[in-house]
Structures are given as structure tokens and as C-alpha cells.
């Protein structure tokens, strides 16, 4: 059912864990549906220095979250935002059609972590400014 790459990431997932002082944390999914992903990112000067994940879910869910943490490390936040679920699935040599939603969840977890990073970074960026908007 799964490609060798998916099984590899499932058996030896990369970057499992938490980042206690993370700059952004994104949690997506629903335990009742059987998939919950939590992504932690550490950002310095706009570059993602480190990423870790925790996932409750099937083989594909674990593999896609593992892969997405690999893909973002070293990228800028802007580049990371462009990572699509298709890219994650392709990096894993493909997923069965019924498991594609796991790659979507991984993309959403990443975006949620980045959103959280922006939200946390806001007060620092907007110090002494009257507006709340940022790029």
C-alpha cells in the first residue's frame, strides 16, 4: 500500500519531539477523525532553524509530518509557505489516493505553525507602531 519512502519515514521518522521555546506551534486535525498533527518551528532572521513534530495518526500521517519537517529546515518562512501537500506527497514517492488528506493536513500544520509565529512575532515587530498590520 505504501511506498518504500513512506515506510522509511514511518519506521525512522525525522525530527520527532517538541521545541519548548518554539517560535511557532501549529496543531491541526481531530482525534475523532484519527489524525492530529502538531508542528513546532524555531525561526531566526526569517529562516526556519529547526522543526519538530508530534503526530497521532496512521502511517501516512506520520510520514508526511516527518517529511514536512525535513523540507522546511533551512528555508525562509516565505519559502516554507509555498510548500504544498502535493510536494510533500511527491517527496514521499506518492501516497495512495485515500491517504492524500494526510499530506493536506501536514501542509495545514505547517501553515498553522507559521501563522502562530507571525502572531507571536507581532508585538516585537510592531513595537512603538500604531498599526497592527504586518507583511
Amino acid at each position: 500500500m505504501y511506498s518504500e519512502k513512506v515506510m522509511e519515514h514511518f519506521q525512522n521518522p525525522r525530527n520527532v519531539g517538541e521545541i519548548p521555546d518554539a517560535d511557532g506551534i501549529g496543531t491541526v486535525g481531530n482525534p475523532i477523525c484519527g489524525d492530529v498533527m502538531r508542528l513546532y518551528i524555531k525561526v531566526k532572521d526569517g529562516i526556519i532553524q529547526d522543526a519538530k513534530f508530534k503526530t497521532f495518526g496512521c502511517g501516512a500521517a506520520i510520514a508526511t509530518s516527518s517529511m514536512v519537517t525535513e523540507m522546511v529546515k533551512g528555508k525562509s518562512v516565505e519559502e516554507a509557505l509555498k510548500i504544498s501537500n502535493k510536494a510533500v506527497a511527491e517527496a514521499l514517492d506518492g501516497l495512495p489516493p485515500i491517504k492524500m488528506h494526510c499530506s493536506v493536513l501536514a501542509e495545514q500544520a505547517l501553515k498553522a505553525a507559521i501563522d502562530d509565529y507571525f502572531a507571536k512575532a507581532k508585538p516585537r515587530i510592531d513595537t512603538n507602531k500604531t498599526t497592527n498590520r504586518h507583511e
Binding site: 514511518f10 484519527g34 492530529v36 498533527m37 503526530t55 496512521c58 502511517g59
Partner: protein
Amino acid sequence: MPYLKENFGNPSSVHRFGQETRKAIEKAREIVAKFLNASKAEEIVFTSGGTESNNFAIKGVAYANREKGNHLITSSIEHHAVLNVCQYLEKQGHLIGDLPKRQGFTVTYLPVNKYGQVNPLDVEKAIKPETILVTIIHANNEVGTIQPISEIGKLLQGINTQRRAKSQEQIYFHTDAVQTVGKIKVDAQELNVDLLSLSGHKFYGPKGTGVLYIRKGTRLHSLLQGGHHEKNRRAGTENVAGIVGLAKACELAEKEMDREKEKLLYLRAKLENGINKTIPYAHLNGHPQERLPNTVNFSFEALEGESLILSLDFEGIAASTGSACTSGSLEPSHILLAMGIPGEIAQGSIRFSLGRDNTEEDIDYLLEILPKIVERLRSMSPLWEDKIKQSRINTNEKPE
């Protein structure tokens, strides 16, 4: 391969080759009839498996008796081969276009308690004047809980006696015994059933074989029309090799069943106790005693079933799960949900089906690797992380 190569006569043929295979089928029929304690061999009809037998029984009775009534009673924990048939019949009344609106069927799905058992009193309460069929699974395939079929059958017999006195229609009683035949005693008279389904591959017979037991006097339509096979009840040239194999499986089961049951109960208890001792937040699903001897179904909190199955597969162990990921939908097993198990916990369920070839060494091996697998998956799970943090807050003690 005697019935796939050498004896290849069509059993319906008059010539000697056909008569040979005809004899083989009728001998098989006698064996199965004895195995189920049917009163006559002709009460045994060979089918392609449990699914066909269930479709045959339920649709057969529904269509044959629809002038008298249109209400069916079943449980909320049936296998899809019964559930989907009932749901299909419910839709039959809603025709679209210019076709006249035909009376459809209504179905009552009885609830179960936390062990997954149907209450015979609930069956009684659900009966209406238009009820024509009750179909309840003998033992559930996922958690193994055994239903009070004999009691329900007796209840229906009493009701039918009253109905006969008032010249009302009989209520037929069917049970899907696919999961129980070959594992525990299945006696058509003791169970008080009119119809019973079984599947060969569930007790080491060939895949693609099955039986529908039809008590003499049961009124039902055939599912397959065509030739006059099986006394006009099931058209189609017989699967001779399959039927002979099925009968052999019955013979072997009859011989081995009691001894196997003891062995399975021992292995099952060892597995259950081992899991309870070594894995925290593990819950046994199903009735503690009234359960199939081979079935062990556990839910492990904060982890997901498919990932558990995959990990076990790597270590050479094959098991199954009621999690959504393996059902193709987002919903976990309807059976676990019907038992009141929360969706999140149902997702972390795993079923071990022990069998003829399993040994104590297999159980020891499983107990060695399972806790490590559970620990690894939990260490990756945000739900486990949250659970630990919550229990620290709640109790101010160190959890395991």
C-alpha cells in the same frame, strides 16, 4: 486436485461423470447438516460465502413476505454484509420518476450495551404487527461478544405461537453465524433459528464458499434465478471443489473444536493479562466472558490503530484495527461506537484473532514487542503528551 481436475463432471448431468460429483456434493451436504444439527440435509443450501448467504436470507424473506409486512429488526453491531442489506431494503420504497411509489421496508436497529450485547427484551419491544424478520449476528466479528441468540429465538417462538392463533404471519429469525461456526458450538435447534449463514474460509475452509441453513417451512425468495440447482433455491453450477473443501473443514472443526477452544482460552487469557500488566491506559473491548475464545480487542489511548498494525507487521505479526484509516472513511468502527466507546479511543483499537496455528511462543513474542511499539507511537503522539501533562496537573504525582 480431485474435484478441479480428475472428477470434473457437472453435478447436474445425467451421465456417470456428473453422478460422481453429484454424490460428492450430497455427501458434503449430509456432513454440514450433521455439523449444524439440521433436521434434514435439504435444509443446507451451498452459497459463495457469508455475504451471499446474508443477502439471500434477508432479501429472500423480505421479498417473499412483503404482502404481509415490511418491518425488519436487526442490531447496530451487524457486519456490513447484514447492515448494508438492511439499508438497501430501506431505500426500496423510494422510487423516482414515473414509477408508482412502492411500499418500502422499515428497519429497527437495536442498541447494545457497553459489552456489545443485544437485550432480548429490546427485541420484544421492537416487534410490530408488520414485523417479518429479525436478524441478529451470533457473535460480533470485531470484539467477539456472543449474543443471546437462543433466548431471542425462544422469545420469537412464543410470539409466533400467539400469531398463529390469530392467523397472523410468522416472524422469521436469521443469524449471521459466520464468526462462530467452527469456533463454538452452533446448533440450529438449540439456537432456535430459521436461517443461519456461515462462511467456509472462517474455519479453514476454502474462500468463496458458504452455506445458508433454511429451516423447512421458511418462506423466502431466491437471490439467484436460473437453473434448478439446490432444489430451485440457488441457481448456478455448484462449486464442487469448494463444497467438498467446506465439508472437510466442518469435519475437522467438529473433531478439533473442543480442544482448540481450551487452547485458545488459555492463550487469550495470557495475552489479555500480559497487556493489562505492561501497557497503561489499555481497555479491553467486549464481554469479559461471553466472547469468542479467539478474539482479543483492545483500545490503547492516545495512539492510532493503523500505525500500530503497520509496526506489528514489521515484526511479523498480522492484526487488524477498527480505526477509520483502514475503513476508507473518517469514521471509526461503527461497532465500537455503538458500544459507547468514544471516537477518539475507538481509533486506537486493535483486534488480535488467535487461531489453530498460534502457540504460546507467539503470545510471548507479541507481549515482548507490543509494549515497545505502543511506547514508541505514544512518544510521537501529541495526545499522549497532552494526557501526561494533564495527569500531572490533576494528581500532582508522577505518572508511569
